[in-house]
Amino acid sequence: MRDVIHLNKITDFIIGDAQAERAVPPTGFTARLTLFAAAVMAFLAVFALALSVSAARLSERWASELAQSATVRISAPQGQMQASSEAALVVLQTTPGVASARVLSDAEQRKLLEPWFGPEMPLEALPIPQLIEIIEDEEGLDAEALRLRLLGEVPGAVLDDHARWRAPLVAAAARLSFLGWFSIGLIFAVMGAMITLAANAALAANAKVITVMRLVGAKDGYIASAFVRRFTLRSVTGAALGMALGVAALLVLPTGGPQDSLLSGLGFQGASWLWPLAIPLVAGLVAFGATQAAARRTLKELR
């Protein structure tokens, strides 16, 4: 029942009182300013949102994909490589927290090095260490204990649990995501400030209208609602336009690069494409609050 009442209030606000709306004359300058400011801010908000969502996605992927894996790198003379690898596998198979361990094939190692050396490089001629991929179980392994065992039982074997370079990357991606959300907050704060200025200008320009409406018995809430409704609807319209343009711009950004790249992965995926739809709604709430405050303040000053 309460939901129905709230829905009715929202519907009444959107449909509005056409007669009351007409009591306030159209103000071209502030109308265009509000529409333009809301559109630009919404356009920027789409990019800040995309940056934030993409960075959060990247941070989550790096954290989850790399956290459960580690690598043992074996450096040994060519004749002892096989024996050292097998010794390391034996150590790993008896290490608590290791779900599986396998020696990477030559083809897999070649593929890993391709981005640096190119496809034509004769890797067979190079003294490349052998890599063993470790998948940890849910409990995880004790990296320090494993390092000590490898040091004692397989000289030349070095454990890399990826923590050293993973942690700053995950932290950077998380910080970038936070900055994205912070930017969105700033964008809406600026939008609120601009709408307040436009509303103040409109209220000042309509001092006579306010006087006449009061003279004939209008309550301040009624007068404020005429301005609030107008500015809120303009802001929602402008923000919807800006949001549509922002989403369109995201759609034409180049894609197809590596999955873990922020530049080629900037945008939304799946259900996160619904996020931008919140921008006009938030813009409407900001405009409602800003105009309501401006109108109440002005009406109080005009006593």
């Binding site: 007669q19 004939v216 209008a218 301040d220």
Partner: protein, 219 residues
């Protein structure tokens, strides 16, 4: 009550009661405080000392919305009419209904009748600047009475119109008084007061020296 602005006292130590259905003229030299007294009578200004009661309510105890409610029972006609120039004259006359949340569509017959009563039939869609001074004053009167108020306050209603038109306006105000409305007209037009006294039992209050005086019957 008394009313001061800054350090200056504009109206001092006056006691006045306006009974329902009475007809008053408020006169006095320019700057005497006629408009100030009228503004006090519809809650635009609040007394700085004493007590002002409108319809048995202490105005100083009311908030802004309470005063707005009171104003719906008081029709005001200003010398400069105070219209919204972007609205048609019919919309301006219907504005009190609009702000009170009443249906304008449902009051179309009353609106047409009222416009006919003040002689503005056929001028409904005209904008205020397109009307003559007399038409604007009559439209202001129509707006003042559309809510069927108990009191009509008119501030120099004939200040900008010719004698013939002012007689027509006076006739409308007298008709309203005969319907039981309280009418208070601030004017320095003695001819208008004399004309009214031949039609209605009107009392004259003169403001001078920041005080109200009952004027003589020879006015």
């Amino acid at each position: 009550m008394a009313y001061s602005y800054g350090d200056g006292e504009l109206l001092g130590d006056m006691t006045l009661s306006l009974p329902a259905g009475s007809f008053y003229f408020l006169t006095g030299p320019s700057g005497a405080g006629k408009t100030t007294l009228l503004k006090l009578c519809y809650g635009e200004l609040l007394p700085t000392a004493g007590q002002l009661r409108l319809f048995d309510k202490d105005v100083r105890a009311l908030d802004r919305d309470g005063i707005a409610e009171l104003r719906r029972r008081i029709g005001v006609v200003h010398q400069d009419c105070q219209f919204l120039d972007h609205l048609s004259i019919a919309d301006n006359i219907a504005l009190p209904l609009t702000v009170a949340g009443q249906s304008v569509a449902g009051a179309q017959d009353n609106l047409a009748e009222l416009m006919s009563w003040v002689g503005l039939r056929g001028r409904a869609s005209a904008l205020p600047p397109e009307l003559s001074g007399g038409e604007r004053q009559r439209a202001a009167l129509a707006r003042a009475v559309i809510m069927s108020p108990d009191v009509i306050l008119a501030d120099e209603p004939t200040g900008n119109i010719d004698w013939e038109m002012s007689q027509r306006l006076l006739q409308l105000l007298v008709e309203l008084n005969r319907m039981g409305k309280t009418v208070v007209i601030a004017t320095h037009d003695l001819g208008l007061i004399r004309a009214a006294k031949s039609q209605v039992q009107a009392r004259v209050l003169r403001i001078a020296g920041r005080r109200i005086q009952q004027a003589g019957a020879d006015l």
